[in-house]
């Protein structure tokens, strides 16, 4: 399990307008590029000081590569990070205000508390 790394992906994509669009258009390519080039960058440090050990497991990589926010919820990705990024990705495709957010809730409606643990 590398919940931290999934969260790091959601966090670093969400805060960059160009990466939001790139992830929307090419999720699998963006995930592959990010895992190879960005996953190990320590955010406040020069590239030479990068980490050496971070990688997704298969289920995490596939959930991100398929925009599968239900799977991300079930893997314990942070609920706020997933929601915020996916609103940026897909809210624009819905005409009614909050329609995407409501569909998101319905797709998770087989869950009741306790939800998957988001602790990192």
């Amino acid at each position: 399990m590398s919940k931290y790394l999934v969260n790091k992906f959601l966090y670093t994509i969400d805060r960059d307008p160009e990466l939001v669009e790139r992830y929307r258009e090419d999720p699998r390519g963006t995930v592959s590029w990010w895992e190879a080039e960005r996953a190990n960058l320590l955010l406040n440090c020069p590239g030479a000081e990068r980490s050496t050990w971070l990688e997704f497991n298969t289920a995490e990589r596939e959930a991100l590569a398929t925009h599968d926010y239900v799977a991300l919820f079930e893997l314990g990705a942070h609920n706020f990070l997933t929601l915020t990024l996916f609103i940026a990705l897909f809210e624009r495709d819905y005409e009614e205000p909050l329609a995407f957010q409501r569909e998101y809730a319905i797709r998770l409606s087989h869950w009741s508390v306790p939800y998957p643990d988001i602790s990192t």
Binding site: D14, H78, N79, F80, A88, Y104, S112, Y115, S119
Partner: protein, 288 residues
Amino acid sequence: MATVAAVIASTHHPFYYRASTSTGADRPPFADEWVAKIGAFRETLTRARPDVLVMVGSDHFHQLWLDNMPQFLIGKAPCYDANWYNEEREFGLPRMFLQGHEELSGYLLREGMDAGFDLAFSNELRIDHSITCPLITLRPEADLPIVPIYTNIFAPPMPQPRRFVELGRTIREMVEAWPSDKRVAIIGTGHLSLELGGPRQFGPQGPDPEFDRKAVEWISSGDLDSALAQVSLDSLWQPGNATHGFMDFMLMMGAAGAGMKADYSDSLDLFHTMEAYFTWYPEGAAAR
């Protein structure tokens, strides 16, 4: 010594700015009632005539991140830029610029550590909507210096609820002992029941109206004993997966004082969440 001119606790709803400024077909049906309630709430700060605002909120994974996560942090900078790209994108919030109050920041850091809170600090902090939303509702001129205090209500493991209460009590005591003639308002925002990124999000009401009813009663009556007896880090997952923001309300109950009834309280049952607004006047009714 400084005067605590008001203690104010509220929810922070990032949709208020857009709802209150939209017109015509874009204006939601609940906007007029919401604006009227905010107008009355704003008056409770205005009449307290504050010089400085101590503002308690929580960074929503903007500057504070899981590689280096403080539990309680005080900003100590001369100025603060505010609001982030994703808040502009999702909520339409404007970029803001706020003056800081380094002397009070430094004083609270030193005294806070000496009182048993090993506080983190930041000399360059970009503020997010947990602090700009209450400025937009309570002081839209944003013309007073602020001391931002961030709490971790977001990323487990989090501090226990009682630590939030104790920090609020300590902030109140420290401000009252600050050698200054300034009038200080202590303002903090949190949440009642709230769900984000889960099956109960964006419903017609908050995810747990019964929790909200109890929480409003605890806050408005200053019933810290009941709040502490019924709230734990584990129990807060039940009313909604983002309900740990209620611990910032508990911090403000600590700042207001156990058993202190709010001098002003109001709420608004909105889609997605219940909004709630509370003001205490430590100087007593004469100050109102």
